[in-house]
């Protein structure tokens, strides 16, 4: 069922990226040398093929002065499955928020799926305008740590919501919701409201919403925090199945056993730095 939306093709399109022409990855030395700022498109193209997420020298300082990330580099290739670990308050959520544009980096370059979200290179910092950001977000799936469900919409509407925001037909939306809810085991609760769900059920609903539109990149912030071991494993299996279809997955987790068991790439944030663990 799921596989039918899943014929993965790396995206080279982005007509508007060309129009907006953001400063693209200037940390990479320009091979042409003389082409200057706007001439580096070739570098970008090569870059784009082998990178889904690319952070270069990214620092994040919050307005209240707390320095969360310092000079972080991260490359995630399409189709990878990456665990992000670290103690509570290390900056895992902040890292993911930079990727879906909910926070803005203080310095460095953030590129996701060939779209530059932020770059402090160039004369003044470039920040992605609202419309391209919305378009990028449609290709992402996010499981928020605090779920962010819509309190006054039923489960079904909460999931449908993402698809409706993209103008899909009601019939198409109906067709997709069923299998997605089934995957996370919430089929019977389709017409309930979020406050009528247990904590773990809310978390699974959040996951369902993130995957219903078949994202190219799934950012899951602690998607198993309120789940028992069996359900955690189930969620991990869902994510791994998606990953096997070509979806890139970045997931944070506190559960060392889960991380251990999965055997995927692990990065760890500690003291603002990012360490590759496996």
């Amino acid at each position: 069922m799921i596989s039918q939306h899943l014929s993965y093709k790396p995206r080279f399109h982005s007509s508007w990226t060309a129009i907006a022409s953001p400063p693209t990855l200037p940390t990479q030395p320009d091979p042409g040398g003389s082409l200057g700022f706007y001439g580096s498109s070739q570098t970008r193209a090569t870059q784009a093929v082998n990178s889904m997420v690319s952070l270069r020298g990214v620092s994040k300082v919050f307005p209240n002065g707390s320095l969360v990330l310092r000079d972080v580099d991260l490359e995630v290739r399409p189709g990878e499955f990456v665990f992000v670990t670290g103690v509570s308050g290390a900056g895992k959520s902040t890292l993911l928020r930079l990727l879906y544009g909910a926070e803005q980096a203080t310095r460095g370059t953030v590129v996701v799926d060939q779209v530059c979200l932020f770059s402090s290179e160039g004369r003044r910092p470039y920040r992605i305008p609202p419309r391209p950001l919305a378009m990028l977000r449609r290709r992402l799936g996010v499981v928020f740590q605090d779920y962010r469900l819509l309190a006054n919409r039923t489960l079904g509407e909460n999931v449908a919501f993402v698809l409706r925001a993209q103008g899909l037909s009601p019939a198409e939306i109906r067709r997709r919701i069923g299998p997605t809810l089934k995957m996370v085991g919430l089929t019977e609760k389709r017409d309930r409201f979020p406050h009528e769900l247990s904590g773990g059920e809310q978390q699974r609903l959040s996951l369902a919403r993130a995957i219903v539109n078949m994202p190219v990149l799934l950012l899951a912030d602690e998607p198993t925090g309120n789940l028992d071991p069996e359900n955690s494993l189930l969620v991990l299996q869902i994510l791994e199945r998606l990953n096997s279809f070509g979806v890139t997955i970045i997931m944070t987790s506190h559960d060392p056993y889960l991380v251990e068991r999965a055997g995927h790439r692990v990065v760890r944030i500690e003291g603002g730095h990012l360490y590759d663990m496996r």
């Binding site: 544009g101 919305a134 378009m135 977000r137 962010r148 309190a151 925001a165």
Partner: protein, 303 residues
């Protein structure tokens, strides 16, 4: 074909979303509609009232005359055509000195025809005219013109009562204008507040919409449609109330005072004028509703 179906889907979405907002909004909608309704009703009533008072004072003013006394030996009938052609003159009535004297004597209680005939010879009066102007304001102008005519001795128009009537009318006009203005301002403030509160109450929802990739137009159009709908509903309700209260006011006035102020009601649906008020209310409601939601939404547009 694909583009068309997508467009259709979008329209459907907007309507559904607006409907959902209305259904889920509950009493928030009623707050907005009722506030707008009350304010439109007040505006409508004050307009109606100012029209009515205008018309009433107008008709009252029309009954006020200018008295023109000619020089002795002048005949009023000679001057009459000249006076009739003056601007703003509505009616001219000639009173010859004989008529005047006869009336006077009769009023004094001398009813003996013979005595009257005797007295007529001694008639100390002059010919006079009563001139009516077509509006209270024009009285002064007409009087000024009359004074310049040859053969006119004295021109009396208006006493204190007339002047004060004109002043009352002026005051009423100013007052109703002021009240209408203040009410319109209140309406804008209240609706903007209400819609901003609705947006705020759905802030989390909007946040999530932005996070899953909805564009600003997509998010805010339903709100704007909602505001527009508020305007339409309120305008219709307000008009109904205005019609109802007109009837009531009319009945009350007819009972309370003997003289019916017919000008208060203008319920002739064949006339163009009849449709002016509902159209104005509708336009005002839609404008206020839409622009208020625009203002409310504008303030919260960020990423």
């Amino acid at each position: 074909m694909w583009a068309l179906s997508r467009f259709f889907n979008k329209i459907l979405y907007l309507l559904q979303e607006t409907g959902l907002g209305l259904r889920r909004g509950g009493w928030l909608n009623w707050a907005a509609v009722s506030t707008l309704l009350v304010l439109l009703f007040l505006v409508g009533i004050s307009i109606q009232l100012s029209w009515g008072v205008d018309a009433t004072v107008q008709s009252l003013g029309g009954q006020l005359e200018i008295s023109v006394y000619l020089e002795p030996e002048r005949q009023a009938v000679d001057l009459q055509p000249q006076v009739t052609q003056l601007p703003h003159v509505a009616e001219v009535k000639v009173i010859t000195k004989d008529q005047a004297w006869r009336t006077l004597l009769l009023e004094m209680g001398i009813e003996d025809e013979e005595a009257i005939q005797t007295q007529l010879g001694d008639n100390p009066l002059v010919d006079a005219m009563r001139v009516k102007a077509d509006s209270t304001e024009a009285l002064g102008e007409v009087a000024a013109h009359l004074r310049q005519l040859e053969g006119v001795d004295q021109v009396y128009y208006g006493d204190q009562v007339v002047q004060q009537l004109a002043q009352i009318q002026e005051m009423l006009r100013l007052g109703s204008l002021g009240i209408t203005g203040v009410l319109a301002l209140t309406a804008v403030a209240v609706i903007t507040t209400t819609i901003r509160l609705i947006v705020m109450a759905r802030r989390r929802e909007i946040e999530v919409m932005q996070l899953v990739g909805a564009t600003a137009a997509w998010i805010y159009l339903p709100f704007i449609l909602q505001g527009c709908l508020f305007g339409v509903i309120s305008a219709l309700g307000a008009w109904g109330l205005v019609l109802g209260s007109q009837q009531l006011l009319q009945e009350l006035l007819e009972k309370l005072i003997a003289f019916p102020f017919l000008k208060v009601i203008q319920a002739d649906s064949n006339q163009l004028e009849f449709w002016f008020l509902p159209l104005m209310l509708l336009g005002m409601g839609v404008f206020l509703g839409t622009s208020s939601s625009l203002i409310a939404v504008r303030k919260s547009t960020s990423r």
